[in-house]
């Protein structure tokens, strides 16, 4: 059971965290562990935003050094936490297979293997035959794959709940409501849509893709650089053993990288109960949650190309979710330019489940002046616009 913020309470919290997605939950967990007085404010229920929609792939990425550092560090935090996670988090250290369709993509496999190898990330390079043996339902004749051994899969909403319950056990409180406005008095006054207000010395904006609604500006004259990027997923009935690893086409990188066009990629995941989760699509500009049949079809056609047998499985549900995308594909973790009491923890795009634990840890390191395990500057919001940084 979670402790509720008592109505009418005069408490001045050290930190108020807006949003109980996996990022807010991790921030709360870390802040409570550091003995800070914490309140988490959420209106939709725990993990009801992107956290309910995401795939839950815990993956080490190598887009940039900063992305590698964050995903790798966070993946290590997940692995350390694994033995404490309750069964409903479904932690499954199944590893990732980055699939190379042809020889050109195979060179990318080798490059990745070298990159990860140099940084102590365990991998194995697989040829056509080895890949077919590991994943017999892939189409024959693929060039090979890179197995990233220590990647994993979780069920995100229950992970968020676990983190929040732990935070509450350490004294954090929950408040149910939608934050409408934050008054930057001292302490700050957080106004909810039902007329209540709470007080806190610092505020963490962990509202995911909804952060711009509350905080339209990063600094005067500079819009919050977070946009909704819609994704579709399909889940099947149970087919134990049909897929054994998280499978991602190397072409995925092209899809995730393009920052404008709609794109789809083959990206599928085994659930522990035998269900197969099929992704993924990326779209800007469509902010409704309804399923778009045309992009869904493209996504499924792509999946069938890699795994023809998928066509004969039964789909039970399709849903959509919104990633919080930034222009440089790195999250925003750290203070507003010019106001250190307001701290951002958003913009995690398609990696927020992975990087949630590191986000909470790095953010609280900065709150309490503790040394961090990796450099924190690459994620500071002030990088977004040099002028924004100097606006105050």
């Amino acid at each position: 059971m979670m402790a509720l913020h008592p109505l009418g309470s005069e408490t001045v919290y050290d930190v108020a965290i807006i949003g109980a997605g996996i990022v807010g939950a991790s921030c709360a967990d870390e802040a409570a562990a550091a003995d800070l007085r914490v309140v988490v404010i959420e209106s939709r229920g725990i993990g009801g935003g992107a956290t309910a929609a995401g795939m839950g792939h815990i993956v080490c990425m190598d887009d940039s050094e900063a992305q590698f550092a964050l995903t790798h560090y966070s993946r290590e935090l997940w692995r350390r936490l694994a033995s404490e996670l309750p069964p409903d988090v479904e932690f499954n250290p199944c590893g990732t297979l980055w699939i190379a369709a042809d020889d050109e993509e195979m060179t990318e496999v080798l490059r990745k293997a070298a990159y990860f190898g140099a940084r102590d990330v365990r991998t194995e390079v697989l040829d056509t035959t080895q890949l077919a043996r590991l994943e017999p339902n892939l189409r024959p004749g693929l060039a090979g794959a890179l197995l990233v051994c220590d990647d994993a899969v979780i069920y995100p909403p229950c992970a968020a709940r676990f983190l929040l319950e732990r935070a509450c056990a350490r004294g954090a409180a929950m408040a149910h409501g939608w934050v409408e406005h934050i008054d930057s008095r001292n302490p700050m006054v957080i106004k909810l849509s039902d007329g209540r207000s709470l007080r806190a010395a610092k505020v963490v904006y962990a509202g995911g893709a909804w952060t711009p609604e509350l905080a339209p500006l990063l600094a005067e004259g500079f819009p919050m650089p977070v946009r909704k990027r819609k994704g579709h997923l399909v889940i099947t009935d149970r087919y134990p053993g049909f897929v054994r690893h998280q499978l991602v086409e190397l072409g995925y990188l092209k899809s995730a990288h393009s920052v404008s066009a709609d794109s789809v990629a083959f990206n599928i995941q085994p659930r522990t109960n035998g269900q197969v989760l099929i992704g993924s699509s990326r779209q800007f500009g469509d902010e409704g949650s309804t399923v778009n049949p045309a992009i869904l079809t493209r996504m499924l056609e792509r999946a069938h190309e890699y795994m023809p047998g998928l066509a004969n499985l039964t789909a039970i549900r399709v849903w959509t979710g919104f990633r919080a995308a930034t222009p440089d594909k790195l999250p925003l973790i750290g203070p507003y330019p010019g106001d250190a009491r307001r701290i951002l923890a958003t913009g995690h795009e398609g990696l927020g489940i992975t990087t949630s634990l590191a986000t909470g840890r790095l953010l609280v390191d900065q709150l309490i002046g503790r040394a961090s395990a990796i450099p924190v500057e690459p994620y500071w919001p002030k990088r977004m616009d040099k002028e924004a940084a100097h606006a105050h």
Binding site: G45, G48, R161, N312, T314
Partner: protein, 452 residues
């Protein structure tokens, strides 16, 4: 439970051929749907009916020689209604052009129509209690359907339980087919039944069946204010415990046929975007929903039996036919009014008692697809159906909450419509069919090419 593997693939050409066009599309071939189709077609509208069963007739007429059914079905044939059976509607596209997609044994069947009549009927509500998942425990209408489908009930001992006008009808049917019906256990009290009966003098004979007259004539004990609190057995059912007030007793039986009233199949109206009020599809006097050109008829708008469904179906069909049909629709309004009042009385007479909420113990499974136990839900106190799903997987399985949704809505006082799955596919479909759905959209939008 594991998924089914399907065989075979369809060519691109086949997919394009599957887009049909019509003027009125009816979904559901029960009494409401058939009456709607007849009425629209007799006014000269090209009419297609999609239904997910191999035979027309809906819950009540299917697989039975019924003169009323024969009359309506031959009328539909004469009027040129095109019936497409084994077509389960799982998605729809509702922008400038309206296309409804169904899965058939041959793959996707998509129909474009400016006007859509929804007549998807109702299903039974199951409430969880210890032992309800044992083999031998079925729905009330469920057991009837099994017998219609060939199950031999000859000499079997059956307890019929739950609530609603359906129970006596099912008991009588099972008795006719040789079952030894030991008891009909109705949860609502005699007091409520009598209050209901007193206001029924003007009602058609079907209603009198509903009042339990038939079972009494047949010598079947009918006990009101009585409920099944547990079903016992290891591999299959051997007995049930019943409770009436403070008295509890056990009855040996081979089958327990147990259902708590009917709940409307709101999935499709909700998916299309129709407004819901008080747990039913909201309609105006023409049976038109909040979406212009989309009509709802039959159990979707209230549970009131076959007569009401027939009248509402006709009104919807005539109204959908436009100017020419409207006077005919209007002429039926007085009849509908009487039947709707009856439906409301039914709802009140068979309102579920609060103590049914406590039948499930902490160990009782509440979601059969995902094996979720009550204790798990209670411990998390999720506060809404969505949170229950997210954190316990209740309602996330193959049936998408069709079974546990109405039960959880009752137990936790969550609005019925909040437990309705609103995402395609409304039913499990082959991945291939889901893929074809988007292709059809492309065709519909870009070429306008259709198969009539």
């Amino acid at each position: 439970m594991c998924g089914q593997m399907h065989r075979g693939q369809k060519s691109e050409e086949h997919r394009l051929e599957t887009l049909r066009e019509t003027e009125v599309l009816v979904i559901g071939a029960g009494p409401a749907g058939i009456a709607a189709a007849c009425s629209a077609a007799e006014c000269g509208r090209r009419t297609i009916v999609l239904d997910d069963n191999p035979l027309p007739g809906g819950q009540i007429w299917r697989g039975k020689e019924d003169p009323n059914a024969t009359k309506w079905l031959s009328r539909a044939q004469r009027a040129g209604v095109q019936m497409i059976h084994e077509a389960q509607v799982f998605a729809a596209m509702m922008n400038d052009t309206r296309v409804v997609m169904a899965e058939t044994p041959d793959g996707l069947c998509a129909v474009r129509s400016p006007c859509i009549i929804l007549a998807t009927g109702a299903r039974e509500r199951f409430l969880p209690f210890p032992g309800w998942t044992l083999p031998g425990v079925t729905g009330a209408g469920g057991l009837q359907a099994l017998v219609k489908g060939g199950l031999s009930i000859e000499g079997k001992r059956v307890v019929v339980a739950g609530s609603g006008a359906l129970l006596p009808a099912v008991a009588a049917y099972l008795h006719e087919h040789g079952a030894n019906v030991r008891l009909v256990a109705e949860q609502t009290s005699w007091l409520q039944l009598i209050a209901f009966g007193a206001s029924l003098v003007l009602r058609p004979s079907v209603a009198m069946q509903g009042l339990g007259l038939i079972p009494q004539l047949l010598g079947i004990p009918y006990e009101a204010g009585c409920m099944v609190t547990a079903a016992h057995g290891e591999a299959k059912l051997i007995s049930v415990t019943l409770r009436h007030g403070s008295r509890t007793w056990q009855v040996d039986c081979d089958y327990l046929a147990c259902g708590y009233n009917l709940v409307p199949n709101l999935e499709l109206p909700v998916l299309l975007g129709c407004a819901i009020a008080n747990g039913y599809a909201a309609v105006d006097e023409w049976q038109e929903s909040s979406l212009p050109g989309v009509y709802c008829a039959g159990e979707l708008t209230g549970i009131g039996g076959v007569d009401r469904s027939l009248i509402e179906g006709q009104i919807a069909g005539y109204a959908a036919a436009g100017k020419q049909g409207k006077p005919k629709a209007q002429a039926l309004w007085p009849q509908r009014q009487a039947l709707c009042a009856y439906a409301e009385r039914l709802d009140r007479a068979f309102a579920l008692r609060d103590d049914l909420k406590a039948l499930a113990t902490p160990e009782t499974i509440v979601c059969r697809c995902e094996d979720v136990r009550r204790a798990h839900l209670d411990a998390l106190a999720p506060g809404s159906w969505r949170m229950a799903k997210l954190h316990t997987r209740c309602g996330m399985g193959a049936c998408q909450g069709r079974i546990c949704g109405p039960a959880m809505s009752f137990i936790h006082d969550w609005p019925m419509e909040s437990t309705v799955s609103t995402r395609p596919p409304l039913f499990p479909v082959r991945m291939e069919t889901l893929t074809a759905a988007g292709l059809t959209e492309r065709t519909a939008e870009k070429t306008g090419e259709v198969n009539r």
